[in-house]
Every structure is written in C-alpha cells, then in structure tokens.
Symmetry: C2
Subunit: 124 residues, 2 copies
C-alpha cells in the first residue's frame, strides 16, 4: 500500500496536470462537502468549485511545484499537503509564486478526494 | 461561541507572539501525537517539536502575517489554516517569505492544540 507521501505526490501531480490541461474536468476530485478558498473567495461543493476554477480569467496555465510536504491529518486516513510553487498564465513571462494546502480524505473505494483546498498567491 | 475564522485568527496571533517572545514555551500548544515539518525536517510529539524549534539557529525572530485563511477540517471540529507571511531574524534586514499550514484539533476542554504544522520558506 502506498504511503501518505507517495499518495500526496501522485495526487498533486494528477491535480495540476488536469488543472493545466482542462480545469473543467476537475469535478471528480471534489465532493458535495468539499471547500475551496481561492484568494479571497470561498465556495463549497464540487460543482461550485469547478465553476469557480473554470471562470478564472486566464486560458493557458502551467503550475510548477517547488516543494511538497505531507502529513497524516487524522485517524480517518486523511492527508494534509502544503505545496509551494509558481504559476505561469497566458502570455505572461513572469511566474507568480503561490502556496496551496489540501486535505485529502479517503473516498471509501480506495481513492481520495479533496475535502479542503486553500490557494493563495504569494507576493513580496 | 467563536467561529472557526475567529479561532484561527486568535490562535495564530497567540502562536506567533509566543514564538517570537520565547519559542521554548510553545509546548502547551502541541500534544504527543502532533507533527511538525519544518523545511525538510519532520519531527513528532510536543517535546521533540519544541526542541526542534528551540534549536533553530537564530535568537531574535519576528513573524508578520500577510494572509490567513481557514476552513473547517472535518466533523471532529478541526480547523485548517494557511498562513503566508514574512519572517525577520536576528540582524537581517531583509524579510524571508514563508508559508505555514496548521490543523488545529479541539483538546476536549474548550481549547485547541496543533495536530499538523508544516512550515516552508518561499524563495523566488
């Protein structure tokens, strides 16, 4: 069985690949009780989250992960992840730094979904 | 009763004030099952965490929080927090950016302890 570090890494790679290819397809990674805080906006539920992400004002996007750290988040088998990285959008040449934290929870069928998702750009 | 946003804000203020004044006194905020990832080091348990933090190679330190976001982390009453901020150590004039995520859990007596703590400096 994969450990939490491996799961965190695999999940994050899959998430950013999917986000960068077609973020409208991220729905299966969220559930009705999932939460997203994106900059200063908070939305709940998979459909609202995908709608929020799909409506972001850029077309092309590329995430580059700099660091990824994970810890078990509780006795329920959850995994807490902190990612720091850089984001390149559209024709912008200068990447923006971001930090993002996820809590993954087991979905009961051997996989995981995103329960918590907080994304912040980092300036300075 | 305070909501999770207020608790997150109060807890984080208390934590950084205590850290900056005397980080050897942070013990009561952790428990035996708490985890800390500080840069690339992982330690578990309150005593080891305080030992790790106390041994960091600086004396004076000042945290300045730029952003703080929180979400409920599950049905157990936990709170997930993502902080981005800047850190000034000793006589260094230039602050370092950092991101830190906490999961707080209720301690059963009306307060909270830190179950998860991941701290990363952000370069770039």
């Amino acid at each position: 069985m994969a450990n939490f570090q491996d799961i965190a890494k695999q999940f994050t790679e899959f998430y950013y690949n999917q986000f960068d290819q077609d973020r409208k397809q991220l729905g299966p990674l969220y559930r009705d009780n999932s939460m997203l805080t994106f900059e200063s906006d908070s939305v709940a539920g998979g459909a609202n989250i995908v709608s929020k992400l799909s409506g972001l004002p850029f077309e092309k996007v590329k995430h580059a992960v700099s660091t990824l750290d994970a810890q078990p988040s509780g006795e329920n088998g959850g995994i807490l992840i902190l990612v720091t990285g850089a984001l390149l959008v559209d024709e912008e040449q200068r990447p923006m730094n971001y930090s993002q934290t996820f809590q993954l929870l087991p979905d009961g069928s051997g996989s995981y979904f995103i329960f918590n998702d907080i994304f912040k750009l980092v300036f300075g």
